[in-house]
Symmetry: C3
Subunit: 366 residues, 3 copies
């Protein structure tokens, strides 16, 4: 336990772990105080997500190169996945879909933009591995095309057909197959193209394997418990705070889910290691499209009240496409300056504003 | 006749020419066996298309650089053109439009993707002439924008207006003018940019000019005869096999029409000559947009029951734009690896799946 | 006054200033001859715009680097702004929006295309500062995304809500903030990236500051007077000449507003200074999106009959996005040849044709 406690002592972010027992107790005591529970759940999830990603890396480090890479890639978005599964079980499909689309947008606009801005405020022009950036961008672009193509191509009454379910299941299997090949490509046959991807915080003290696995399991359970409170309270809190459901899924859930990765990314940006930022932001977005989204579709057959399809509403399709095309274009040159980051954040702000203003219910599928 | 017979003996693909008399006889004997006739017609068209492209090249080789280049460029998609004219005469405008859009998608996703995958399985990373690839990609991107702009801009009731006919005719003339300028550019004023475009199979035995022209004429007539059987049977066969009309035009017709070019492209990919692949795939797609499509519109005034316009249905517009933007992006770097090809094929598979699942009649213009 | 008169004597374009008094008198004498007034107003605005841009540069030259750059950037599209404000005061919001969208399309397709074509007819291949071109293109791409994102994302009934007004005002303030940052970036923190942007005609005789400011003020008033005649007559003339309102705003107003800049750009192209062309064309288009458009929204609260929003009709969104993506792609390589210019002009012609054919009233918001 020693390395874990030392870790917590040295990382102010982890001090927020104190909110985990608070929110669990509060949910028992005042189950109707939705806005309070929502705020407490957010404050509890952020440090848990940080710990989770830390434990994942500690485990993957011990298990050797290939298996470790696989683990890291598969569990990299574990927080997002747990929150989405909780929403899935509650039958909140609109929230699940909005959080999938929102996670891609948040990674490719907000995380990338804030990294470029933070890095650019310290360094005049930042250069990074162009080939790696391009490869990530190509993967992300095609991943989102694969995810969104059916929605973009047929906005028709496909959604109402029973056939849409089979179609979404078939698409999900195809996406997971593509994800498998992408791992084969990036971890095995062409791993030199993705070379600079070593994550920064592993320079610190190593964890013994038992501690790492134990932490991984315990924290997963804690995230699941807090997620349940979060999903239950978020909709009520949104109404109180005047937010549309689309805004909640797209912005709030996506930001909370990605908070831990962002902490890593922003510190890398200020150390002029933009390779890592591009790899975290675009890699995470690709993973949502090729792995998290189809896994949720397949899981919906088991844990959901009915199967979920992959039909996104037109506004979500447009926002995701704009985000990934912009991220692709921006990372194409291998150079960055503060204004590029500022522009990405402006586009993100405009999306957020649009979603906030949209009257609840006027958008999104039934 | 000697070189022709030797050619046939050495090319297993051409042994399939035996299906030409079989399908012609079968159409007389069992005119109602649509599915059988459809399969036989496909098997007969593929070797004919190979022979046709071979004869075209033999003729163009004899006629000197400028005229030869022109001939090669104009007759390069002769098979697609003959099939489409046959469908035009039968008044199957939906099939014609779907096959135009499908040919662009098939060339830029399937042919390019399969080439990259086949080449990538043998070579770790393949490099090719980046400037040439970019020029082809730029031409293709603008050609498809020119073709689709009206459909993308006004999905309104333009289609119902009598004015739409004049508009499509004017657009067709504009596209053919652009095509003429593109030939002037690529064959005359800036031919050095397209330098590596010499097609591979011309290294083999030369044909005498008489044999080449004779073969060209005879095979054109044969393709026309078999196309008639194909167009007649394909719709019936589709119904029997549970395919939507959009799927037939987009996927089946496009694959059959491009089969011969693909054989050339795939063998080039395995010889590490990706320049040729990019040039065949993107060049052929551009030609469909700038030459075949407008020629069909103008021909519809002569051979069709009524003039055909160039309004594509929204799903087709989206698929064509996604395909050409993806091909442009992918060829921008001048490098390739197997996974890039695999991703292009995944997107193609998703498009095919979407078209297959769409209930017949729910998409496409009346 | 001497340098001004010498300037006029040596610049044939400025001889057209004679139309200024003619149109002002004609408007008094034959207020109902709309087509005549329309033609005269166009003939008068073109030389006034040239003089205006000249005076702006003379003033900005005297005021030192930072203030001068700011002035030049802010007043660069003064003619477009004055025409639009006149239309705003007349409540012609459809015309204002069409001219905003049209100005972006005209700059990025027509001005760039004609420059590439004119330059390419004289030089085989033209190279230009790739980094500068990319920076301009990135700025333009993001500027149009920021401007159009709300329209692209929610084509729903947002337009009908009272909320749409607040939303557009908030968006306008965000866009102007982005514009301010872009000036900080391009004029101050990273001005070396935009280095080659010195405009050509300043090599000639310098104007004294008094003359420059005086000309600026007088010409601004004259442009405003003629614009009033132009806006009043253009709609009537359009009906007489069979043009749709969308065509008038998109093509006629945009071309008239940009005529002066085009004269500068085309002469630069023939001197093989494509850097300047790219910078004028893309810089001007960005400025319309980030500065002119939001200023018009905010001004509509003061001078218009009611607040104007930023909801563009879907066809305009598509055309603007296609134009900027194409311009981005084309300027990405830093090389040009005549055919690239010809293709840009073809796409512009197709857009113009589409707008011309669209029956008046079938497109555009109420």
């Amino acid at each position: 336990m020693d390395p874990l406690l030392r870790e917590i002592r040295h990382t102010p972010l982890l001090w927020m772990l104190v909110f985990v027992p608070i929110v669990l107790v509060a949910a028992r005591m005042v189950p109707a105080a939705h806005t309070l529970l929502f705020v407490l759940a957010v404050l509890a999830i952020v440090p848990l997500a940080a710990l989770l990603s830390h434990a994942t890396e500690a485990v993957s480090e011990k298990t050797g190169d290939a298996v470790g890479g696989l683990l890291n890639a598969t569990l990299g978005n574990l927080t997002e996945l747990i929150i989405a599964v909780t929403a899935l079980r509650a039958g909140e499909y609109m929230l699940v879909k909005a959080s999938i689309a929102g996670a891609i947008v948040t990674n490719s606009l907000f995380m990338l933009g804030a990294s470029f801005l933070l890095g650019g405020l310290r360094y005049h022009v930042q250069e990074y591995n162009r080939a790696g950036g391009r490869m990530h961008a190509a993967l992300l672009l095609m991943a989102t095309i694969a995810l969104l193509a059916p929605a973009a191509v047929s906005e028709l009454d496909l959604a109402r057909e029973a056939m849409a379910q089979n179609f979404s299941a078939a698409l999900a299997i195809l996406l997971i197959a593509a994800y498998g090949l992408s791992l084969l490509f990036s971890l095995k046959t062409h791993k030199e193209l993705f070379a600079s991807e070593d994550h920064g915080q592993t320079e610190e003290a190593k964890w013994p394997i038992k501690l790492a696995v134990g932490t991984l399991l315990v924290v997963t359970v804690l995230v699941a418990l807090v997620s349940e409170i979060f999903v239950e309270s978020v909709q009520h809190a949104a109404k109180t705070l005047g937010m549309s459901p689309a805004f909640v899924g797209f912005i709030i859930v996506a930001l909370v889910g990605a908070a831990a990765e962002m902490a890593v990314a922003f510190s890398a940006a200020r150390k002029n290691r933009l390779d890592m930022n591009v790899s975290i932001a675009l890699g995470s977005a690709s993973q949502i499209a090729l792995f998290v989204a189809p896994v949720l579709v397949l899981l919906s057959y088991v844990v959901g009240p009915e199967p979920m399809d992959l039909q996104f509403w037109p506004g979500a399709v447009t926002m995701v496409m704009i985000s990934t095309v912009t991220a692709t274009f921006v990372t194409n040159s291998g150079r960055s300056a503060w204004f590029i980051g500022a522009l990405l954040l402006f586009i993100y702000a405009i999306f957020a504003m649009t979603l906030y203003m949209v009257p609840p219910g006027s958008q999104g599928p039934a």
